[in-house]
């Protein structure tokens, strides 16, 4: 069965967030009352798996083997059946 997974990668707490800070500054310059921006990266991946559990397991493997660096990244996985 075909599954689509959404992997949402964010910065672990405590690490600096220069991209969010630069964007916050710019939006403030544009007169938006922005307090904080967290920049996330989202991968939407479609692939074959025998079950939702296997789809999630495979997505988790993708995260640990390539998509995230455990030193700085947190991630969540949500699975959508197609």
């Amino acid at each position: 069965m075909k599954y689509t997974v959404k992997i949402d990668i964010s910065l672990k707490p405590g690490h600096n967030n220069p991209e969010g800070e630069a964007t916050t500054r710019m939006l403030k310059e544009l007169n938006y009352p922005v307090e904080q921006i967290a920049v996330h990266k989202i991968y939407v991946i479609t692939f074959q798996a025998s079950s939702q559990a296997e789809a999630k397991l495979k997505a988790d493997e993708m995260c640990t083997r390539l998509l995230t660096n455990p030193v700085r990244d947190n991630y969540t996985i949500s699975v959508v059946e197609q």
């Binding site: 690490h15 600096n16 390539l66």
Partner: protein, 267 residues
């Protein structure tokens, strides 16, 4: 081993740059150099033909996912066995800029217990954010472990250029202090950014002003600055202001010379 018998492979993939400059640096010092695409090394099964492997600068695979991440996994997947043999035999491996990012993503640096399954560090977005392209000073803090710098006097200051967006070295927040202590205890810190007078400076927000580290054995060395862009005196930004030049060369040459001497002495 004579310098002219030393074979250096500069490994490239899509998005690699400075491979020609790196090859020239080794060539003018008398070594044999070849620039090889990673697929060519896979096809010919020829990684072990070389005495030194260099991963040069650039934005391999477009820096997609994270800088160096895809090249690191490509190397591991396609050349993993040969890479392991190369490393186990303590043959030197150099990563410059993107090459350093690749070594970190591969788990070879810092690699406290040997190559790690997952990265133990990250080279990430500069602070302040943006591409940093400038000449900078570095202090050699290594006490003699690193095969690429062990003939350069400790505390000597070198002048080299940097050119990167993701050069901020960081470690897991929970283990930051312990990691730094391990780096110091094992003599794995090689270069730290400094001013001309040796006081530390911070061009990109990197932890403890670190610009380059080596593994515990001193055979794998990664640095963000570009020594291959500082071989001749006329590459220095201030060369026209100097009245006299005592040497035709610049500081980057010291690193290439050092590793060739280390191999020549060893074998």
């Amino acid at each position: 081993m004579k310098t002219q018998d030393i074979k250096v492979c500069i490994m490239r993939a899509g998005g690699t740059n400075c491979d020609f400059e790196t090859a020239r640096a080794f060539r003018i010092l008398g070594a044999q150099t070849e620039i090889k695409h990673v697929n060519e090394l896979v096809k010919n099964n020829s990684l072990m033909d070389y005495n030194i492997i260099v991963l040069s600068g650039g934005s391999s695979f477009g820096d997609y996912v994270r800088a160096g991440a895809i090249f690191a996994r490509t190397l591991n997947a396609k050349l993993g066995k040969q890479m392991k043999q190369f490393i186990d035999e303590n043959r030197p491996l150099l990563g410059i800029c993107n090459g350093f990012q690749i070594l970190v993503e591969y788990g070879l640096l810092p690699g406290f217990e040997g190559p790690s399954q997952q990265p133990e560090a990250a080279l990430t977005t500069n602070i302040p954010q943006g591409f940093k392209c400038q000449w900078i000073y570095l202090k050699n803090e290594n006490k003699g472990k690193c095969l690429f710098t062990n003939q350069i006097p400790q505390n000597k200051i070198l002048h080299l250029p940097i050119a990167h967006s993701e050069g901020r070295l960081l470690f897991s927040k929970e283990k930051e202090k312990q990691t730094l202590q391990k780096l110091i205890d094992n003599d794995m810190i090689v270069f730290r950014y400094c001013n001309e007078d040796g006081t530390t400076t911070d061009p990109n927000g990197t932890y403890h002003n670190i610009a380059g580290i080596c593994n515990k054995e001193g055979t794998i060395f990664g640095l963000m600055p570009h020594p291959e862009r500082a071989i001749y005196f006329w590459q220095e930004p201030t060369w026209t202001q100097k009245q006299q030049h005592t040497s035709p060369y610049s500081d980057g040459k010291l690193i290439f010379e050092n590793i060739l001497n280390s191999i020549a002495k060893k074998q």
